[in-house]
């Protein structure tokens, strides 16, 4: 009986450590193994990675940040997101709405957890002093809006 309990306890600890390890890896931008088709899953977003064979280490670093960003949005991890989105962040949403960091985080908080996203056409370019990322975001399932956030106040960014 005691031996069975000990085995159960060890199994519980092993499972718990595995979950913590996964969570830590994702929060640091490390990727889970690729899906069978070569894409990767970051939170609720399936990402088609670009060909990085010509990328500089700096461009790869920013690409890893973009992957971690998707995972953090899915988890609602605004603590980590606040280390990525600058305090003076400024954005223009798809329908022309200007949005700052605090507004954006509120929108992320209202995101429909049933929604899944895909990102493709991803490209990272270092222009010396600044790095530009371009991509295409699409929504699968959940509410009809093509963007993240609550319908009507979505951000698409």
């Amino acid at each position: 009986m005691m031996r069975a309990l000990r085995i159960l306890a060890l199994a519980f600890v092993w499972l718990a450590l595995g979950s913590i390890s996964d969570a830590c890896a994702e929060s640091q931008g490390e990727s889970k193994p690729p899906l069978p088709d070569g894409r990767i899953l970051a939170g609720r977003t399936t990402i088609t990675l670009p060909d990085t064979s010509t990328y500089s280490p700096l461009e790869r670093q920013v690409l890893a940040l973009e992957r971690a960003r998707s995972a953090a949005i899915a988890k609602g991890d605004t603590v980590w997101l606040a280390t990525l989105y600058a305090p003076d962040f400024s954005g223009i949403a798809a329908f022309g709405l200007r949005i700052d960091r605090s507004d954006l985080f509120k929108v992320f908080g209202r995101d429909d957890p049933e929604r899944r996203f895909t990102i493709d056409e991803l490209a990272v370019r270092d222009y010396g002093g600044s790095v530009l990322v371009t991509g295409r975001l699409q929504t699968l399932g959940g509410t009809a809006s093509p963007c993240r956030g609550a319908p009507g106040i979505s951000t698409c960014m």
Binding site: A94, V131, V133, L137, P146
Partner: protein
Amino acid sequence: MPGGTRYLHVYVKRADRWWLVRAQATQIMTKN
């Protein structure tokens, strides 16, 4: 499936770390 959006993110390095400072998204209205 909706066409989705295309987006641009601008990162700059400040105090030895990268920050996302600007973003702009455009809704895709065509099949391209």
